[in-house]
Amino acid sequence: MIEFAISSLKRRFWKYLAVFFIYTLLIWLTSSIFLISLSLKKELFLTVEELPEIIVQKTLAGRLIPIEIDRVEKIEEIVGVEAAYPRVWGYYYFAPARVNFSVVGLEEIGYTKTLNNFLALNEFEGNVMVVGEGVKRILNNYYYKEFFNFITPSGEFVQVKLKGTFPTTSALESSDTILLPLPLARKIFQLPSHLATDIVVKVPNPKEVPLISQKIKTLFPDSRVISKEDIKASYQNLFDYKQGVFLAVMLGAFLAFFILAFERISAIGQEEMKEIGILKALGWQIRDILKLKFLEALLVVGNAFFIGIVLSYGYVFWFQAPLLRNLFSGFSVLKPTVEFLPVWDWGVFITLFLVTVPLYLFAVIIPSWRASVVDPEEILR
């Protein structure tokens, strides 16, 4: 039966070629976009993994404001907290290039591993800064090769020496970042020394996080407490939502395709009609014809699926998704160095499979059935 199905497809090569081609294209496109977003998500989660367990911010009238540094000690007194650090960071708008840099002030001890490793290897004092690749490129464009002039809120210039760029583990995180010694960061933001942007809390046992969050909230009712889990959940939500919206758009394309496939396959020509009549007169049952038609459909859709997936893998992870990547980069200016990290997620492939293969089979139900009930008596006339 399978040989017959293959030869039947071959004989109608041109009829199925368009269907096959467009279907492969659609699967490739959907799969590529899924893979890119999955890869970005993986990268983001790697970044999130490095975050401290809890971040404490202060709010006033619903807006974030700097938080008092003396709260650090009180938080450290809570049982289960290993340490708490104040952070000074913010965004610096570089008007000529119309971009925001993330400016991060560092003490001797950072709160992430990458930064710690980096600090251990470098002297980091006075008016110096270390920047990400993206920042360096932009500064170079504006002829800041050796130093850069920050403008403080009160309008003074602060000249800072460009000491170098830092290594990037996760490109998303760091490409737009400027690292400064803490006092310098305060100076640029004009942040008084009893205040910090926020406080990060290290909690060794993740199971204690909800309880500690609760305690901090009770201790300082004006604070906003964000845990790592919260951030993950909101990212997950965001990605699901984006993928969902995207899929909804893609479905339009799929629908158009199914109509095409339906048209193509249901247009049973005279020749094919006669052929099925002959098969039935020679003793083929309706279920045999149906089997044949579904085998044909499975061959088409199965191959299209397989080839589409393989192509999208090559396209995203080998060629780094030319063209499509622009679609995903609101950060295209600052983050040109994003490397898509290879991912493999069964869930996504099952999802892709479910959205493509069964719907195709549904699209061919009626045409196949129509073929299978061709009246065998016709051929005697």
């Binding site: 039966m1 017959f4 030869s7 004989r11 006669k274 052929e275 002959i278 098969l279 039935k280 007169a281 020679l282 003793g283 083929w284 049952q285 309706i286 279920r287 045999d288 009930v373 009246d375 065998p376 008596e377 051929i379 005697l380 006339r381």
Partner: protein, 221 residues
């Protein structure tokens, strides 16, 4: 072998396009006999063949073949009946032109998914000395060769009953004679043969057991 009792066929029954193709026909064809079905085209010969081959069901009456009531079979059972007991030879052969000879011949057996179908096909092809063309496409064969493929295909399931609908309409005299020889041989093997034709040459054959004449839907023995 074949028993028809008051078999009547009306097409498009209950609609405005009602056509009576066959009036109540009653006849009997014994096992192993060679029966000729004669009459002008459009007289109802094909309808009769279709009813006996269970390609359609009669409006009323009963058709019994080899002890089985074939006039009241659901479509899938009718197919099964054809696969197991009937061999068809059509007027235009109805071969699949783009397929090879071998592929054409195995068609009736493909649904059985038995592993020996290609072996069987080779044997039948050998019998009609067309096995040397097994791999060629039917499209490239001559008329006579195509006919032998059609006969081989009708016999691959070793049917008890052979139904032929104007098999020689497109053949020249030499090939018709060759075909008649094969028929004779098959009758010798005990196959029941029913052949519809309007070719008068058949009437002169010496091994005819029965002649049924069909005229405007009426069957006359």
């Amino acid at each position: 072998m074949i028993e028809c009792q008051k078999v009547k066929k009306v097409y498009n029954l209950g609609t405005s396009k009602e056509v009576v193709a066959l009036e109540e026909a009653t006849f009997y064809i014994p096992k192993g006999s060679f029966t000729l079905l004669v009459g002008p085209s459009g007289s109802g010969k094909s309808t009769l063949l279709a009813l006996i081959g269970a390609l359609t069901r009669p409006t009323s009456g009963k058709v019994v073949v080899d002890g089985e009531i074939v006039s009241k079979l659901p479509e899938d059972f009718a197919s099964l009946y054809r696969r197991e007991k009937v061999g068809f030879i059509f007027q235009k052969f109805h071969l699949l032109e783009e397929l090879s000879v071998l592929e054409n011949v195995v068609i009736p057996l493909i649904p059985t998914s038995s592993p020996t179908i290609y072996k069987k096909a080779q044997e039948v092809l050998k019998r009609f000395s067309i096995d040397h063309k097994a791999k060629s496409k039917v499209r490239k064969l001559s008329g006579g060769e195509q006919q032998r493929v059609a006969i081989a295909r009708s016999l691959i399931n070793d049917p008890k009953l052979l139904l032929a609908d104007e098999p020689t309409a497109n053949l020249d005299k030499r090939l018709t004679l060759e075909f008649i020889e094969i028929l004779k041989e098959l009758k010798g093997e005990g196959k029941t043969i029913l052949l519809a034709t309007h070719d008068p040459r058949f009437l002169e054959l010496d091994f005819i057991d029965k002649i049924l004449e069909v005229k405007e839907g009426y069957v006359i023995s």
